[in-house]
Amino acid sequence: MDRILTRTEEYLLLAVLKLKNNAYPVTIFDEIEKATKSSGTIGAIYFPLQRLEETGLLTSFLGNPTAERGGKSRRFYQLTEAGLQALASARKAQEDMWRGIEWEPVK
């Protein structure tokens, strides 16, 4: 991975990783909203998800349509090997940056 992930991409990948087999836009969005406590909109995560799939960090497949979804399918996402690596290097970069800083956030 040449490019460092953006924060949004990193969160999306982390959410997919955490949600295991139940990662589709609704759950991913819930997960991120829960962690960041900011109120975004679900419409804003589709494009980065598509881009991540386009660059090969995610794959997706369609689930079955259900009634509460108005007869539409879910699109489930999974991390690829490249996705996992990208997360690993993002994490390493994060830790490297913090290393040696002697400061603790209050509380």
């Binding site: 909109t41 679900i42 589709y46 369609l62 349509p65 108005g70 007869g71 539409k72």
Partner: protein, 883 residues
């Protein structure tokens, strides 16, 4: 996989779903990649909130997030579309590379069409830009007056005081200037210069924008003997010296005077209807009588052109409505009432308002030329667009069928296929636009020479044209790409693969396009042929005099003793006649095409006739080989001058003296104090160009002021003759400029514009036909592809290659015949309209129509057979194999 499947949803469930309108909006917003799933995500969350907090909260959430999501979704749709267009363009470039000939024909045709548009736009824009350098030119008006004569009106300039009166007592008028034009002879120590002088009022500079480079425009013309020189004239006379304050001897009319140079004007812009080399106070040209109402002491009324600038916001109609009570009261001529009216100067050049003939301004251009050029450019662009469409379809049939079929099988939507064809069209048309600019740049020098303009393609000249053209080209490309896109996408993939794809055959649309292309080509070619025939007719019609071997000598500068023309012409004549190369020498007081004129009213007709007059010497008949029909030409014993003998032309006799003209006096016939007794009638000849009818003419014998000499040469060595004339002239009139030409060349020059336009339309129509042919080429490929199996079966059943070729050609020839039938009446009407402007014109020869059609047919057969023969020769075993 049930991705696209929808479960049936009952009415109850429907009531539990998000608002219908909201769903509909979301569906529109989603990019195609998200359509199958994303709406479900929104609905799932809606469902959850409805369960927990009720339908109201859920709906509020739905709407809020719809609004918040919209920008991101729109951006996303746009992004993916750009990516898609990018890959379509890549594909398009590959396809173009694969078929270079096709691509060249396709782009080339459109490029020619666009080049035509560029030139036409530049021309028309130039026409519209004329005189626009005057700020707020729409406030400038010319004042004219007219006197009613029965049903007709005689239009005049205005009496001298009109201008000053308008400026002084009409608050709407900001400034008014009178204008008069005269030739000025400027004498310096070593040279005589003939200049175009304009007599003006000091307010000239307040009406028009002709800034001074030196001097003060407010005071420069206050002194009655001041002159403002044009920059070029100043340079010619004074070189690099400062001309301000210098004096010059200038002769205007009959009066020579010393003038003080008080200013130097900047160059007159090219696009100006008003031109001058020097400016003098108007009284210098028109005399002091110009400031009086009515005829002056010598009986002649002093008239001048008059231009005014209205104040900001003043309306011309309001001003004109006050003329009857004011200006018009001064305009009573022999009890006949007259009126004054205003003409918008801004409309002068392009001719959208017809002005009466002006002695001051450059001729009006005909709006017909702009219209002709614009409509030709439009027609060519139309043909090029059709052809572009046909070629796209032709390539589509050849290369794209399987590709498109496959894309459809893999779920490409119609919208995507459309986008693909449209982006290809746009790419091709932009390439064509670049080519079009190239062609326009190549053709521009020739076009400038032909149109007498100095157009350029620089950014400053084209200005707004560029974005307009880019839009136009894109529009043509997208529109032209849409048709093959439409034809392809509506066909089922199975049909595409099987090869039974028949665009245009069922709809008849291709056929209609073809008819239009052929029709336009035939229309243009017939028009061009008629224009050319008319031009030839003008050039070859016998003008009634023999123009060959006649040298014309301009004596207008021999205007003051001792070297005045009346004195030098007899000397020159006797010296020239000593040479065997010279047959006869004669003098005339006016050049052909500019004989003097007066209006004469007949009792029998409500309309006054223009009677033309000229004074000539006794050898005029011999020099021009005029023939007499009655009576005799002048003899040496005839009295000259007033009360002398006159010769009239046939038209004069026909209009004024039906019986026994010879021997009658002019007074008796015209009822006017015009002296002269008719001694002969000369056969009608065209002293004007063939663009005007022959007027009645009176020729008198008089040699007080010859201005032109007509010299008939003997033998074929014209150059030798001209050398002799030059040598003798210089010996007789040392120091005077030798200005001469050949009469037949002068006559031919009269019809220069006809020559130019027939050539122009001819070239353009050939272009149109060629572009149409490239479209035919595309269509021929298409048709032979359609008929591949038919041809195969026919060959198996024993048809010859020739019969097959005929089959393919027949399609086109039938279409061309239909196109011809449609084009003929249109062309007939157009040609009739163009020729209506000529009193002497060619008959509407019927052979032209089939001839023009035949030209197109031949071109079609040639083009079709580039390909059709290959199709006809194809081995049926190969073409039938697939079934």
């Amino acid at each position: 996989m049930g991705a696209g499947q929808m479960r049936r949803i009952s009415a109850k469930e429907e009531a539990d779903r998000p608002p219908r309108i909201g769903r509909w909006i979301l569906e529109r917003l989603l990019p195609s990649g998200l359509k199958p799933t994303a709406a479900g995500d929104y609905e799932e969350i809606y469902h959850r909130i409805r369960m927990n907090a009720g339908a109201g909260k859920a709906a509020a959430w739905y709407w809020r997030h719809l609004a918040k999501s919209a920008p991101a979704l729109i951006f996303s749709a746009f992004y993916w579309r750009m990516i898609m267009i990018g890959s379509y363009l890549k594909l398009a470039v590959r396809l173009m590379r694969r078929r270079p000939l096709f691509t060249a024909v396709k782009i080339g045709g459109l490029a020619v069409g666009l080049a035509g548009c560029i030139l036409a736009f530049l021309y028309v824009r130039d026409e519209y830009a004329f005189d626009r350098f005057h700020p707020q030119v729409e406030r400038i008006f010319e004042v004219r007056s007219e006197i009613r004569m029965g049903d007709d009106a005689l239009t005049l300039d205005t009496q001298g005081p009109v201008g000053p009166t308008l400026a002084a007592s009409f608050p709407e008028v900001e400034a008014a200037t009178r204008l008069a034009k005269a030739e000025a002879v400027v004498r310096t120590e070593d040279r005589v210069l003939l200049k175009n002088s304009l007599g003006v009022d000091p307010a000239f500079f307040a009406v028009f924008a002709f800034p001074l480079a030196e001097g003060d425009s407010a005071s420069a013309l206050r002194d009655p003997h001041s002159v403002i020189l044009g920059r070029e004239t100043a340079r010619q006379i004074f070189g690099s010296e400062d001309p301000l304050g210098k004096t010059l001897s200038i002769k205007i009319g009959d009066e020579t005077a010393e003038y003080a140079v008080t200013g130097v004007a900047r160059e007159v812009p090219i696009r100006s209807s008003l031109e001058f080399d020097l400016l003098v106070p108007i009284a210098r040209i028109k005399g002091p009588g110009i400031d009086q109402w009515g005829p002056g002491p010598d009986g002649s009324a002093a008239d001048a052109a008059c231009f005014i600038r209205l104040r900001e916001g003043a309306r011309a109609e309001d001003l004109a409505s006050r003329f009857p009570a004011t200006l018009d009261t001064h305009l009573e001529v022999k009890g006949k009432a007259g009126r004054h009216f205003l003409l918008p100067f801004a409309e002068y050049h392009r001719g959208s308002v017809r002005f009466p003939f002006s002695f001051i301004l450059k001729p009006q251009s005909s709006p017909l030329y702009s219209a002709l050029l614009l409509s030709i450019a439009f027609l060519i662009l139309l043909i090029a667009g059709f052809n572009f469409m046909n070629l796209s379809l032709g390539t589509a049939v050849f290369d794209r069928v399987k590709e498109i079929g496959l894309r459809k099988v893999f779920g490409a939507e119609r919208r995507n296929l459309f986008l693909q064809f449209r982006s290809e069209g746009a790419l091709t048309s932009l390439a064509a636009l670049a080519g079009g600019f190239g062609i326009a740049a190549l053709v521009l020098p020739a076009f400038n020479r032909f149109s007498g303009k100095s157009l350029g393609l620089g950014f400053s000249e084209t200005g707004l044209l560029l974005p307009v053209l880019v839009l136009l080209a894109l529009w043509v490309g997208i529109a032209a790409g849409s048709y093959p896109g439409w034809a392809m996408t509506r066909t089922k993939p199975a049909d595409l693969f099987r090869g039974s794809f028949l665009p245009g055959r069922k709809s008849g649309f291709s056929r209609a396009l073809l008819v239009a292309q052929f029709g336009i080509s035939i229309f243009l070619i017939t028009t061009a042929i008629f224009l050319f025939l008319q031009r030839n007719f003008l050039l070859t019609t016998d003008p009634g005099y023999e123009a060959g071997r006649v040298a014309v000598l301009d004596l207008r500068q021999a205007d003051s003793p001792p070297l005045d023309a009346a004195r030098i012409l007899p000397v020159l004549k006797s010296r020239l006649l000593a040479h065997p190369e010279i047959q006869s020498v004669s003098g005339s007081s006016s050049a052909l095409t500019s004989w003097s004129a007066m209006f004469v009213k007949r009792d029998s007709s409500p309309k006054p006739d223009l009677v033309r007059m000229n004074d000539v010497d006794i050898d005029f008949q011999a020099a021009l080989s005029l023939r007499m029909t009655e009576g005799r030409w002048f003899s040496p014993n005839d009295p000259t001058g007033a009360a002398g003998a006159v010769v009239v032309n046939e038209t004069f006799v026909r209009k004024f003296a039906p019986a026994q003209p010879v021997g009658k006096s002019l007074f008796e016939i015209l009822g006017r104090r015009i002296p002269g007794r008719i001694i002969g009638v000369v056969r009608d000849f065209h002293f004007d160009s063939l663009r005007t009818e022959i007027h009645p003419a009176i020729i008198s014998l008089g040699m007080e002021a010859p201005e032109w000499a007509y010299i008939r040469l003997r033998g074929d060595n014209l150059r030798r003759g001209m050398e002799i004339i030059a040598t003798e002239f210089k010996a007789v009139a040392p120091g005077l400029p030798f200005v001469s030409s050949f009469l037949d060349e002068d006559t031919a020059r009269l019809y220069e514009s006809e020559s130019r336009w027939s050539l122009m339309v001819g070239i353009v129509s050939l272009f149109a036909a060629l572009i149409a042919c490239s479209g035919v080429f595309g269509l021929a490929i298409q048709i032979s592809a359609h008929k591949k199996k038919e041809i195969g079966i026919r060959k198996v059943l024993g048809a010859s290659t020739r019969q097959i070729a005929l089959l393919i050609n027949g399609e086109f020839l039938k279409t061309a015949a239909v196109a011809g039938l449609l084009a003929w009446p249109a062309s007939y009407l157009a040609v009739r309209k163009i020729l209506a402007g000529y009193p002497y014109r060619i008959p509407a020869s019927l052979w032209v129509y089939p001839a023009a059609t035949a030209v197109v047919l031949v071109l079609i057969v040639l083009t079709v057979n580039l390909h059709a023969l290959r199709a006809a020769r194809a081995n049926p075993a190969l073409t039938l194999r697939a079934e």
